[in-house]
Amino acid sequence: MDGPFATAFSLIASGDAALMQIIGLSLRVTLSAVLLACLIGLPLGAALALARFPGRGAVIVMFNALMGLPPVVAGLVVYLALSRSGPLGSLALLFTPTAMIIAQTLLILPIVVSLTRSVVEDLWAEYREQLLSLGAGRLRAVPTLLWDGRVSLLTGVLAGFGRASAEVGAVLIVGGNIAGHTRTMTTAITLETNRGNLGLAVALGIILLTLTLTLNAAAWGAGEWAKRRLG
């Protein structure tokens, strides 16, 4: 049996070193970006839900709009910031995994912020009087609402992960697709397909799909469990 699928399966089955290296880097970059985006986005989204200030509507619209930010544009922005003549050029981060993490964080952040804002705003409407009565002010309510909204928030985090693991544009521009250094699953698929090296491309495609499927199944299961268990 020959052809790209056969090659793909034998690559996966044999645990090909180059393949594993690419998968490892992709996971490292995307998971780091998700983590960073959550660290910034969860409190920021919650604050945006509870705070009242002039221009709040504009900020919300901006984050909603940024959910559709094209990855190549995010890549370009980070590229300009990190390039030698850019404001952060002295850090020499361009074409490193760190640069890719920054670019993907930028991509995921609006999703996390917008979803958190909407979840927390709904919860706050329900909890406001009770929390004030129990002695929790707005600031103290933030962690409470984030925790009580954990199941819904997981969906947002997952959407962020999905977006980051699927995009090519941002990591390609700021990472440069350097073999063994900044090559991720998506950039490798692009390159190997162009080269006609379909086996590796298909292998990566299968793994990418499996990963997304597994994560979504896990999140769905967690949501169902929580509904039954937590009410």
Partner: protein, 237 residues
């Protein structure tokens, strides 16, 4: 022991949204240790009255003066018509307000154990609060309020969503709170319940306090035409 926060003195307290006065000119002293039923028809302003007293909102006119001089004393609690329980276990729900006061973990555990015991919640300690029945949820809300060791407890129609047996349980608990020396301020439009629990009555009509009396007098001989009509409505039904 913290300073006594009661009596609560309301001086010409009012609340308006724009030009619409929802409550006006409420002058009333709520003394310690009694059960006050706030009565009146739907829309008379009963819930709003409780929220103003409890400090969830501030009056737009007049004053709300606690005996300890603070703007919003901590030694008060409120039970809502539909209690909001956190999406956590029964124990975590009891722990939440105690942790907010900065109580040490050991003392909190002791207080929670006492509360579970007293309110018969021991066998559901680890159950998710949101999955309890309506009556159990309200019982937990009362337990949570009790654990906060309030001097005054506000209750906003705590049994209106409950069946008669759950209602009886809640009423019994309210009576026990009262025996512990906790001042009760409660709204209800269940006249039977008001008769069972009231020591004093404040009767609201269209956002004004038009009658304030001892329960014994109010139910026998209301002074205003509106209160008479309100009480008569009960007989007609």
């Amino acid at each position: 022991m913290t300073a006594a926060i009661l009596p609560l003195e309301l001086r010409a307290m009012g609340y308006a949204v724009g030009a619409a006065a929802l409550l006006s000119d409420i002058t009333l002293t709520i003394p310690a240790g009694r059960r006050l039923m706030v009565m009146g028809a739907n829309g008379a302003g009963k819930s709003l009255f409780l929220r103003l007293c409890h400090g969830l909102i501030d009056p737009t006119s007049g004053q709300r003066i606690w005996a300890d001089g603070s703007a919003r004393p901590a030694a008060q609690a409120m039970v809502f018509q539909r209690p909001v329980l956190l999406r956590r276990s029964v124990v975590a729900n009891l722990d939440y307000p105690l942790a907010l006061t900065g109580m040490a973990a050991q003392e909190r555990r002791f207080m929670i154990a006492r509360t579970l015991d007293r309110f018969g919640l021991k066998d559901m300690a680890d159950r998710p609060a949101r999955l309890l029945s309506g009556g159990q949820q309200q019982r937990l809300a009362l337990a949570r309020a009790w654990a906060m060791r309030p001097q005054v407890l506000f209750l906003d129609e705590p049994t209106s969503a409950l069946d008669p047996s759950a209602t009886r349980i809640i009423e019994k608990m309210v009576a026990q709170f009262s025996e512990d020396g906790i001042t009760i301020v409660m709204t209800t439009h269940n006249l039977g319940q008001a008769r069972r629990l009231a020591q004093d009555v404040a009767f609201l009509h269209s956002g004004r306090l038009i009658e304030r009396a001892r329960a014994a007098d109010f139910f026998v001989e209301p002074q205003t035409a509106q209160a008479r009509a309100f009480l008569a409505g009960d007989l007609i039904w």
